[in-house]
């Protein structure tokens, strides 16, 4: 109750905070809002005023396919990232802090290494003549090299690896805030570990999953390097397509239109998620 009355604070409360937020707002306004508006304008004025860029975009099977691909890849990456990150985050949440900080350090450390380097490292591991395939073939487990690169599998492996910290960090925060006694109470009431997970832990960690999941999904939508190097052309993602359209074909109008549509869809998803999580929270909290 106290929380909600704070959130609905007086006008005075709102404006008191806005003074210190002003530099940040200016920064966002200048370096985000202005370019986005310029992008939108470009998409309806280049080469001539009108909606022809959008017509070309939706009329082109190529772009529609690349859009669908982009969302498919982002969805797969997000789902796999959640599955991998959850156990790690849970372990971090219940570990003694001394060990926890070591594991945390390892996770953060991977983020300090250059993205391109990490992606090339995956190429060396995943290719037909790479470490993984050679080892498996040497052990006689497989006869033919597994297709791990230049396809959806390659993109997913490479991107999940990069996205993991962005999922683990918010999730650990949420999981740490859960009172372990609730799980013990569930066990005492006769819940199996799976029931305790499904009915207690999962619902309570949902805000963390949603926050991390959205971040991973949105970041994945705009990813460039990793899909370009680990994916095949049939999984081409939008960022690469836009880069080609602008850099090589010099079609700024079409490129802007594609970027703008992606932005609108992303914002719509964000709004949807806010509604869903918001509803869930009030429903579940009581």
């Amino acid at each position: 109750m106290q929380g909600s009355s704070l959130r609905r604070g007086s006008i005075a409360g709102l404006t008191a905070g806005s003074g210190s937020a002003l530099p940040a707002l200016l920064l966002v306004g200048l370096f985000f809002i202005v370019p986005v508006v310029a992008l939108l304008l470009r998409s309806v004025t280049d080469p001539e005023p009108g909606l022809q860029n959008y017509a070309a975009l939706f009329g082109s099977g190529t772009y529609v396919r690349v859009f669908l691909n982009t969302f498919l890849v982002a969805a797969v990456v997000t789902a796999v990232t959640i599955l991998v990150a959850f156990p790690v985050a849970w372990m971090l949440a219940i570990m003694p802090p001394a060990y926890g900080s070591i594991v945390f350090g390892i996770i953060i450390l991977s983020m300090w290494t250059n993205l391109l380097t990490r992606t090339y490292a995956w190429m060396v591991l995943l290719q037909r003549t790479g470490v993984i395939n050679r080892t498996l073939m040497g052990l006689g487990i497989i006869q033919e090299p597994l297709p791990l690169i230049n396809n959806l599998a390659g993109v997913t492996i490479g991107m999940v690896y990069i996205m993991l910290p962005f999922m683990i960090l918010p999730l650990v925060g949420t999981l740490r805030a859960i009172d372990p006694m609730t799980l013990r109470a569930a066990a005492l009431c006769g819940a199996s570990p799976f029931q305790a997970f499904r009915r207690i832990l999962l619902p309570l960690s949902l805000p963390g999953i949603a926050a991390g999941g959205l971040m991973v999904f949105v970041m994945s939508l705009g990813y460039f390097v990793t899909p370009a190097l680990l994916g095949g052309t049939s999984n081409m993602m939008l960022a690469e397509m836009i880069a080609q359209t602008v850099q090589s074909l010099l079609n700024w109008g079409l490129g802007s239109a594609a970027a703008f549509v992606l932005l609108v869809i992303t914002m719509a998803l964000y709004a949807l998620q806010l509604r869903l999580v918001g509803a869930r929270r009030t429903g579940g909290g009581l």
């Binding site: 082109s60 099977g61 190529t62 396919r65 690349v66 691909n69 290719q127 037909r128 003549t129 230049n150 370009a228 190097l229 095949g232 052309t233 049939s234 081409m236 397509m241 080609q244 602008v246 850099q247 090589s248 074909l249 010099l250 079609n251 700024w252």
Partner: protein, 334 residues
């Protein structure tokens, strides 16, 4: 306060003064730009006193944005020739001042009113000797998955080369390539689509072949040359080698146009071209350059393989660039 202002003013003046004998050269980075810096920029700086700043990589979108915004920070740019022809038509380039740049000895295939050759190269068929049994002899062999199983690697982007290779492999005679029959080319490419690994840049093409990840592929001859220099066991077929060129252009409104023209004169001189060719394995566009090169190096140039050599039609590509690209990406992403 006054002191600071005076200091600022002096600094500004110094900066503008420095600008007068500075210029910016932009190319693709990597071993190619290193060779250009060593063979062209360094001697040019010594003889002219004009400092050459390096930038890169070349980005056509950025070039257009600079010209559109009338804030051009590049003075000489290394671009692909089909782009240069289209860019000149779109008004993005300064005409070359042939009063400064001697034209007589330039290979007419690779120079025009708005561009002078940078170097020229051939697409050749290269293979990893360790993973191919037998020797592929022609582009047609790249489409024969029974005789030559394994992955083959081609240039990823819509550019002169792959379409022509598919048509040649399908039996189109070299002198009947243009206008390109895109339907026929894509149909031919369909037959090996799942066996293709694409390379997006020169280093990637070398890595694919050297590691045996792709057994053979369509490579730039300079990249094969570098692999062989490194002792990699790579085979190469010059049969039906396809020539294309990089050219040097001056973006419209370049701030140091006069210096840029002088730089072009030095870069396209017999000596500049000979030195660059020696360092890179790419071919000189100055017909006098070979006289200044060791016979050993001349043997490895595309010039030594004119028999069966095919010149990719840059004018055709400049004309149909967008149309082909649309088809290309539609096919590739399918």
């Amino acid at each position: 306060m006054k002191l600071i202002l005076t200091g600022l003013l002096a600094g500004l003046l110094a900066a503008t003064a420095a600008r007068a004998d500075e210029m910016v050269f932009t190319s693709w980075g990597g071993t190619t730009q290193e060779a250009q810096t060593k063979s062209w920029a360094a001697p040019f700086e010594a003889s002219s006193g004009i400092k050459v700043l390096q930038d890169g990589p070349t980005d056509y979108g950025k070039l257009k944005a600079m010209v559109d915004a009338k804030n051009v920070t590049w003075d000489v740019v290394d671009v692909e020739m089909d782009f240069a022809i289209k860019a000149a038509k779109d008004g993005l380039l300064e005409p070359i001042d042939f009063a400064v740049v001697p034209k007589a000895d330039l290979d007419p295939r690779f120079s025009n009113d708005h561009a002078v050759g940078s170097f020229y190269y051939s697409f050749v068929l290269a293979w990893n000797k360790g993973s191919v049994s037998g020797e592929p002899a022609s582009w047609a062999d790249m489409f024969d998955t029974k005789k030559f199983p394994g992955k083959r690697t081609f240039y990823k982007w819509s550019a002169p080369g792959v379409i022509e290779i598919a048509l040649l492999a399908d039996g189109v005679p070299a002198d009947k390539l243009y206008p390109l029959d895109l339907d026929r080319a894509f149909k031919k490419l369909d037959t090996i689509k799942s066996d293709i690994v694409w390379w997006g840049g020169g280093a990637e093409s070398q890595q694919l072949i050297a590691s045996g990840e792709a057994t053979f592929g369509q490579l730039w001859n300079g990249r094969v040359f570098a692999l062989q220099q490194d002792g990699t066991d790579v085979g190469v077929s010059w049969n039906q080698n396809l020539t294309a060129a990089d050219v040097l252009v001056v973006p419209k409104g370049a701030k140091n146009k006069d210096s840029a023209m002088k730089f072009l004169a030095a870069a396209t001189s017999p000596t500049g071209q000979a030195k660059f060719a020696e360092a890179s394995g790419y071919a000189p566009i100055n017909t006098k350059a070979k006289g200044e090169m060791p016979a050993e190096v001349v043997k490895g140039l595309p010039d030594a393989h004119v028999d069966g050599q095919i010149n990719l039609d840059m004018n055709y590509w400049a004309e149909h660039r967008d149309e082909i690209a649309t088809r290309w990406y539609a096919w590739q992403t399918k």
